[in-house]
Symmetry: C2
Subunit: 97 residues, 2 copies
């Protein structure tokens, strides 16, 4: 399981302009992070409700559909939330040129 | 105001693979749509809570930051939600190749 987490971390770290990666368990408990503690806990709390809400939205519009990821573009960065079976992965990027 | 809405519609219709556009007022009431009524009303309801939640998440993480758009990638399509001062714009695209 730890090898799988390292694998996920490595994969997303190869993305351009990544400033932080947080891996949460399905209950949104941080199990790995490259960000500071306060920010990690804050992300975990808000990402959890947002991902649940978005997944519910998608399946309520079409029961055969499924949420794959959420991208939040903000003035300062882009946050990618990838819910998977075992983890919720949060990747924070600086907007690219 | 109607000209502004037509302008928004035209701009997003030029995007590739667009299957539907919905323009909502800030209270998430549909004011223009290219999708059928049932789907429009359903999108309006779920988009509203999701956009509000995401905007709150962004400002709670950093008061100087601001949400620009949300992209939901699903198995079947991509939904782009653009909250602006006067409207919430929802664009549904088929994933590109």
């Amino acid at each position: 399981m730890s090898a799988e987490i390292e694998e996920i971390l490595k994969r997303y770290q190869s993305y351009p302009n990544v400033v932080g990666i947080i891996i949460l368990d399905p209950f949104a408990i941080p199990i790995k992070t490259t960000m500071d503690y306060t920010l990690t806990v804050h992300y975990a709390a808000v990402v959890n409700t947002l991902a649940a809400k978005a997944a519910k939205m998608v399946s309520s519009l079409d029961a055969n559909n499924e949420l794959m990821n959420i991208r939040l573009r903000t003035k300062q960065h882009e946050v990618i939330i990838v819910p998977s079976e075992n983890y919720i992965i949060v990747v924070v990027q600086k907007p690219g040129d």
